[in-house]
């Protein structure tokens, strides 16, 4: 396993793409978060803004870059034929997939932490200038606050799970373009359907099983009772999607020739 991990790490380290993608993930997350934090204006004395969630808006963009990175870890090997070398050197398919999953998780964990911390810092600096001041009941964002810490740590975990989901899908479909299309379709289609469907029960169920909507419930710190799914359960739903994708990918990898 250590050998497999080392091989995966070398493959990622020695090409420029992954490093740039990680930087792009961090930059896009922080940039969109900062833009979102600069956007809200409170017309009334009472704002209804969920400050930590607002400062973590960028995760919605950063997850796409993470998904691309994770997809390329597998899809890139299939497009170049490298996968044959990999599987010849390490015939135990599950080990290969586990090594890839570990590498992707580690990288996402690192980049996600930087991105989330950067976003919160941007929010801490920008939000008070935008009317979300202490006098209106908004303390500066800090990780010592329980719900904020949960939102921050949960967002990092969310990114890791998105990476694993993408890895599983890419292993199953063996093509980068198709894999990223499937992943983004999965993430975006549910919220759109939930918007169109008028039946509140259907709406709630759609939001409960949607990987993005349910997963991002972890970012909510106010009015948790009105969420379609509780924060940790929502992250659990995403984890189930990721596990399902990895399982499908692993099974197909074992059953197919390459």
């Amino acid at each position: 396993m250590m050998l497999a991990l080392h091989a995966e790490w070398t493959k990622l380290r020695t090409v420029a793409g992954p490093a740039w993608l990680l930087l792009a993930a961090i930059a896009s997350t922080v940039a969109l978060s900062a833009a979102a934090a600069a956007a809200p204006t409170c017309p009334l004395d009472r704002c209804l803004v969920d400050a930590p969630r607002l400062s973590l808006t960028g995760v919605q963009l950063g997850q796409v870059v993470i998904a691309v990175l994770a997809v390329l870890v597998v899809g890139g090997e299939y497009s170049t034929g490298m996968i044959r070398t990999t599987l010849t050197a390490l015939p135990r398919r599950v080990t290969v997939l586990a090594a890839k999953a570990t590498t992707v998780s580690g990288l996402t964990l690192a980049a996600g932490s930087v991105a989330v911390l950067g976003s919160l810092l941007a929010g801490r600096l920008i939000l008070p200038g935008n009317g979300l001041t202490r006098s209106r009941g908004y303390a500066p964002l800090t990780l010592t606050d329980g719900p904020t810490l949960r939102a921050a740590a949960g967002s990092v975990l969310y990114l890791v799970l998105i990476g694993l989901l993408s890895l599983g899908v890419a292993t199953a479909v063996r093509d980068s373009a198709t894999a990223i299309g499937v992943v983004l379709g999965l993430l975006y289609l549910f919220p759109i359907l939930a918007q169109v469907v008028t039946d509140p029960i259907w709406q709630r169920h759609l939001q409960q099983i949607a990987p993005m909507t349910a997963g991002l419930a972890i970012q909510t710190t106010t009015d948790i009772a009105s969420l379609p799914i509780s924060p940790w359960a929502g992250l659990g739903v995403l984890a189930a999607w990721a596990a399902g994708a990895l399982l499908a990918g692993g099974l197909l990898l074992r059953l197919r020739d390459t």
């Binding site: 209804l48 796409v64 691309v68 373009a177 299309g181 983004l184 918007q195 039946d199 259907w202």
Partner: protein, 526 residues
Amino acid sequence: MTETTTAYRSTMRTERDGFGQLLHSEWTKFRTVRGWVIATVVAALVTVLFGLLTAAGSHTSCSNGPVEIACPAIPVGPDGEAVKDSFYFVHQPLAGDGSITVRVTSLTGGVAARDGGVVRKLDATTPTSGEIQPWAKAGLIIKENTTAGSAYAAIMVTGGHGVRMQDNYTGDAAGPAGAVSAASPRWLRLTRTGNTLTGYSSIDGAAWTAVGTAHLAGLSTTVQAGMFATSPIQETFTQQLGGGSATGGPTLATARFDTLGLQGHWPEKAWTGDAVGAEPGRAASGELRQSGATYAVTGTGDIAPDVAGSGATIEQTLAGVFATLAMMVVLGVLFITTEYRRGMIRTSLTARPRRGQILAAKAMVIGAVTFVTGLIANAVTFPLTAHFLRANGNFIYPTTWLTALRVIAGTAALLAVAAVLALAVGTIVRRSAGAVAAVIVLIVLPYIVSTAGVLPAGPSQWLLRLTPAAGFAIQQSLIEYPQVSHAYVPAFGFYPLAPWSGFAVLCAYAAVALGVAHYLLQRRDT
């Protein structure tokens, strides 16, 4: 003896070298990849499937106490559009031509006070708070009959928009501005000559100015004419992170009329008060209080087009188009990146050294395939989903057939342009995963954050002006009316750009991307 030798000539038949040939070869490349053909068919089926899913997940029913009943029908105006037609009408029949003149000395009102969250009755005794609604209306009206949705023309004073002449729900002409009060009353006159109704206003009852003229085709000889008052629901729209919501409540308007003058044949010579368009089972909303020659009319509701919120829109039947979009973007990108991956691009460029033509041929093939696929899928999904939506008790906003055609064909065109954009981005970056992610994110993410209430209305509207998501404006079937107060925001289906301008923004993105792709294709080796 010398032998003459002729130069070698290939015995192969010379092929035509035209652009048509190139199109044919690109079409063959697309047609012969089985996965792509299957994906195209699946993309079409997905639109149908999600349309049916939308219909299955949308039930509308109303309750009368504990019993669920079918919802009352939404009135439809003479031109086929959904309308709001509820007001308090003090009327009597007018036979043939004639006119009615009145002086309005005040228009007051506000939000009806709630008794434990419920508004029990709406009449002159209901306490109100706040200011009169800007579009509270009171004045004279001539109407086909007292059925909601029938033809009318009215001259009125409003809470904040001066004197107006309105007809058949969508017609609106502005008269003299200014609020009405005892110190500055307004005289109004409405005359009928055949099918032509003309509204006049005056500040002294002597010098009259015509405000507007309405032609009501097919108006009966005997119509209902008289005074009316109404005041629309007050809506406060708040959009914060996590969702937009409109809250509001009914409002009231009371107008005082005097110096009533009638000309023509008024057979009954007595006024009747009716709440037009009142919901069955509800207490009467509005009333008439008469003292001598002074009439105080109180009403609630609106006489206006129903702009949004009462039902589904026709574009909602095409929700599955997002899945189709993702699939066609993948195909658009693969159409070029596969050539790079397999080295086929070298063959393509050797066979046809004029590279711009290859890009053009590819764009035309992927654009045409996507357009036809989308068109068939939408043309099937739209009537099917609309049928099931109606069967589930949903009201669908009626539109003209031209609008329906624009939504169906425009959505297919939107898919086609998105596929061409994907092809161009694929040519630029030559990597499939990055190109697919970039195009889907550019088109879909701004749409989601603007319409799902993630962002406030202001930034949402800018996103839908500047990003490729502006193209979704082509799907808007609802119409904005300046004479109706409503939150015309993306969350409720209103785009900041007109349908074709929004589509043009998406086309501009595709054109610029094609330009850059063309430049890079010329400059790079392969």
